[in-house]
């Protein structure tokens, strides 16, 4: 076994969702939207047909970031907010792997905001799925950058007074090559969007509205307020931005499919370091 090549094992038969289901029991509260995202991802991966050992699921810290262990793929559960740079390094070092990054709104938009900006800009061929519940679930309910300004909590009694931002608008401004919004409980359509995101070259961003039943029980109402697939993808960034800013924030669907080329993979193979060492030599 070498550490570099992925021995591509041709699956004997088509993969199913089950092939991506691990035996680890989720710590999620029952009813958490993240179960839906997990299922949708497993479905999408099955559809994409890459076997689990050629897929790496990378995350940060948060309830949502626990996801990697719940799939049978390789995984990386890193520190809070740094999933995207891990995924970037992984993909650039091993372009042969399928790299999926997942996490929460706190992980991705608060502490991880800079990496989000730069991943969009850098446009490495990875897919980023954010389970946005508009709250820090894991730390028991503080407002995130997508939380409504007036949402009351101990950490910000009466609300932060700060308008949430639109991660989709930011992704578009920063250069993401694929921008979509999904809903956790619409598993099948979400799976389809994820599969398309993975297939799309460059950095693909899927924001998923994923209710936190424990700290934001009112989000269960999203079932009713979601506007399903009420958008058609454009290849024009300005138009997509207008759609994002103009549309209801409950609108799901693919907003943008760009044509930027993905960040190029590195020249491979090793030269002879001794040739380089010769450049140091003088007086011979």
């Amino acid at each position: 076994m070498t550490i570099h090549e992925a021995p591509h094992v041709c699956p004997q038969q088509a993969l199913t969702l089950k092939d991506f289901k691990s035996s680890v029991e989720p710590i999620w509260c029952s009813g958490c939207g993240d179960f839906g995202v997990l299922q949708a991802l497993q479905r999408a991966l099955a559809e994409l047909g890459r076997p689990p050992h050629e897929v790496v699921v990378v995350s940060g810290i948060g309830c949502s970031s626990r996801l990697p262990a719940y799939t049978t793929a390789y995984g990386f559960h890193g520190v809070h907010g740094r999933a995207l740079p891990v995924a970037t390094g992984l993909k650039l070092a091993r372009p042969d792997l399928e790299v999926i990054t997942v996490g929460g709104d706190g992980d991705g938009y608060s502490i991880g905001g800079n990496h989000f900006l730069h991943a969009c800009r850098r446009n490495v061929d990875i897919t980023y799925i954010v389970m946005d519940n508009r709250v820090y679930g894991m730390t028991k309910g503080q407002p995130s950058p997508t939380t409504e300004a007036d949402w009351d909590s101990d950490a910000a009694p009466g609300g932060t007074g700060v308008k949430p931002f639109s991660p989709l608008a930011i992704a578009l401004a920063a250069g993401a090559n694929f921008v979509a919004r999904g809903f956790a409980l619409d598993v099948k359509p979400l799976a389809a969007v994820i599969a398309e995101a993975v297939r799309h070259p460059g950095f693909s961003f899927v924001e998923v509205l994923s209710p936190c039943i424990t700290f934001r029980p009112e989000e269960m109402e999203w079932k009713k307020t979601i506007e399903r697939n009420a958008v058609t993808a454009t290849t024009d960034r300005t138009e997509a931005t207008a759609k994002v800013l103009g549309a209801n924030e409950m609108t799901t669907g693919i907003f943008f499919k760009g044509d930027r080329g993905a960040y190029a993979s590195a020249p491979t193979g090793h030269g002879d370091a001794e040739k380089i060492a010769e450049k140091f030599v003088v007086g011979a």
């Binding site: 076994m1 070498t2 550490i3 570099h4 090549e5 992925a6 021995p7 094992v9 035996s23 680890v24 076997p51 689990p52 050992h53 050629e54 897929v55 790496v56 990378v58 810290i61 990697p68 262990a69 049978t72 793929a73 390789y74 995984g75 990386f76 559960h77 890193g78 520190v79 740094r82 995207l84 740079p85 891990v86 995924a87 970037t88 390094g89 992984l90 993909k91 650039l92 070092a93 091993r94 042969d96 792997l97 800079n114 990496h115 900006l117 730069h118 590195a266 020249p267 491979t268 193979g269 090793h270 030269g271 370091a273 380089i276 060492a277 140091f280 030599v281 003088v282 007086g283 011979a284």
Partner: protein
């Protein structure tokens, strides 16, 4: 002033745009070609570019004491191309009554701070001489003066000019040759000479420690580098980015230091030897993820080229004040490997070793260099030994559901198959975990994994990595030093030995895990032990005390940057009668 000598120390200084550094580099290159060792420190003013600059050079010593590894106590000559802002540099250019100052009276009077040194002032009409040559520049006149002062031979001078200036075309070369010639003649006319005894002509290396770290990285097998620029470490990243163009591999410019080390985590997980490069402030930003790499057992090399701290401090000057954070700068107990090259020459081998160790032990290895090692240009012997390669353990004992990424092996090292391999899927995790890698809050799992990670470092065969001992077997005094302090400490030890106090230098390379037995052996027989280091609080001293590696009488001689250590300062400290009681 006309006998041949084993070395000569010369400063070439000038205001912005004069080219003092180019003249200095050419002098170093010429010395190398004439068979000498050499060392060049660059000084520059506060301005980003175009400010005053000085090249501090010592050359010689071939066939005598080996390479020059410390700044000289004083300079034999100051070649002042002009006098602009020279007073800013004065404290770093010690001159005395035996020194000569070569300056152009047209450039104005000799500044008081220079005159006060008692150095002999000689006049060279740099401006007029440069003007007398088609396309002549005063820095090359200065170079000519310096080269003749040191008695370097014509062929070496010409070869050096071609090597340094050749890219600019034959006309520029001709102008430089001519300018150097008029300079040399002017010097000859003054009747001073500090000619070196003949050097031993052979192939040597001319490089900086930063270059050598880059080479060591490639030799070690680094394929993926992620970094964010920071002085004085950026040059390593840039060197690698350029060389990897041909060699293969990739340098990614990350958005910040945190992204950089996390990219390395990804690459390490992917199976690729990886490195990140920074200096103090950037290291501070990396320590959270360093803890992850230790806990999740991800190999990588983290290079820290130390500068003067705390905070932004003095970015262009050397200090050894990051040892504390390198050893202890993560929350929780995260035992780690800290290696420090003991000379510029050692930068290549120690970096190469760092890559091997990281891969073999599946852990980050801190490589502590410093501004002085990193940015000083030197002429050294070509290092002939290289560390034996070591590889990552990737072959799992079992595959399938029973595969345990963090199996509790005797060595503490467990198989780390890379993604792509079927049947060994695992999740890297910074949460406390079981052998499988699954999170666990249980004390038994947590402690077992803590012990495993410690065991890796403790049972590994470190061979001779721990350090080196130089000096007489009958030494009564031992100086313990690391990094760029080894050079001046070694020079001080030589002098003390000559003066009747046999003195040994113990150069620590593996600072953690500390090899106490090897250190004890190295100190055996000495009556006095002094830890010499360039920081304010005696960080190495405290580390050694904390590890109970020093006897009760051990002393600390710690002094922060930005001033470089010189052998004379160390000797003075050690021989002062009124030393304060060791404390």
């Amino acid at each position: 002033m006309s006998t041949t000598r084993k070395s000569v120390s010369i400063v070439i200084a000038g205001s912005g745009g004069t080219g003092a550094i180019t003249a200095g580099s050419t002098l170093l290159a010429a010395a190398a070609r004439d068979g000498h060792y050499g060392l060049m420190t660059k000084l520059s003013g506060a301005q980003v570019r175009g400010g005053e600059a000085a090249a501090l050079i010592e050359i010689g010593r071939s066939g005598i004491d080996g390479p020059i590894e410390a700044q000289p106590d004083r300079f034999d000559a100051l070649i002042a191309l002009d006098w602009e802002n020279i007073q800013r540099f004065a404290p770093e250019i010690p001159l005395d009554g035996d020194s000569v100052v070569l300056s152009d009276p047209k450039a104005g009077p000799v500044p008081a701070v220079i005159a006060a040194t008692g150095a002999r002032i000689l006049e060279v009409a740099f401006g007029a001489l440069a003007g007398s040559v088609e396309g002549g520049r005063i820095n090359m006149v200065g170079f000519g003066v310096a080269a003749r002062l040191a008695g370097l031979d014509e062929t070496a001078i010409e070869a050096a000019i071609r090597a340094q200036i050749g890219a600019k075309g034959e006309k520029a070369v001709a102008a430089s040759l001519a300018a150097a010639k008029v300079g040399a003649e002017a010097l000859a006319a003054l009747g001073v000479s500090m000619a070196l005894s003949p050097g031993e002509k052979k192939a040597r290396w001319m490089c900086s420690g930063n270059d050598a770290v880059g080479l060591g990285a490639l030799r070690g097998g680094i394929e993926f580098v992620a970094a964010y620029p920071i002085t004085p470490a950026t040059e390593i990243t840039e060197w690698l980015a350029v060389e990897m163009q041909e060699h293969g591999g990739r340098v990614v410019l990350a958005e910040d230091e945190i992204a950089a080390i996390n990219m390395c985590c990804g690459a390490a997980y992917a199976g690729v030897p990886t490195m990140t490069i920074t200096s103090g402030p950037g290291l501070a930003l990396k320590v959270e993820t360093l803890g992850l790499a230790i806990a999740a057992e991800l190999p990588m090399v983290v290079v820290d080229v130390m500068r003067v701290g705390p905070s932004t401090g003095i970015p262009t000057k050397s200090d050894q004040g990051d040892l504390d954070i390198a050893l202890h700068g993560t929350p929780g107990d995260a035992p780690r490997v800290v290696l420090a090259p003991i000379s510029i020459a050692d930068c290549a081998a120690t970096t190469e070793r760092a890559v091997h160790v990281a891969e073999a032990l599946q852990t980050p290895v801190m490589l502590l260099s410093d501004q002085s090692l990193g940015q000083t240009q030197t002429i050294i012997d070509i290092p002939r030994t290289r560390p034996a390669p070591l590889k990552r353990l990737v072959e799992p004992a079992v595959t399938g559901p029973d595969f345990r990424r963090y199996a509790l092996t005797e060595s503490g090292v467990s198989p780390m198959p890379a993604p792509g391999n079927p049947g060994t899927q695992w999740v890297a995790d910074g949460l406390s975990h079981k052998e499988s890698g699954h999170p666990s809050n249980a004390a038994v799992d947590h402690i077992a994994q803590m012990k495993k990670r410690l065991r890796k470092l403790e049972t590994f065969d470190w061979g001779d990595t721990w350090g080196e001992v130089h000096g007489p077997a009958d030494a009564t005094l031992a100086l313990i030093a690391f990094g760029s302090t080894v050079g001046p400490a070694a020079e001080a030890a030589r002098r003390l030995t000559e003066a009747g106090t046999p003195t040994r230098v113990v150069a620590l390379r593996l600072i953690a895990p500390l090899q106490k037995n090897r250190l004890a052996e190295a100190l055996a027989g000495t009556a006095r032990v002094v830890v010499v280091e360039q920081n304010a609080s005696g960080q190495l001293f405290r580390h050694l005390l904390g590890e109970r590696a020093l006897g009760p009488g051990a002393e600390s001689f710690a002094r922060p940057g930005p001033a470089p250590f010189r052998a004379a300062e160390i000797v003075a400290h050690l021989t002062a009668e009124t030393r304060e009681a060791a404390e």
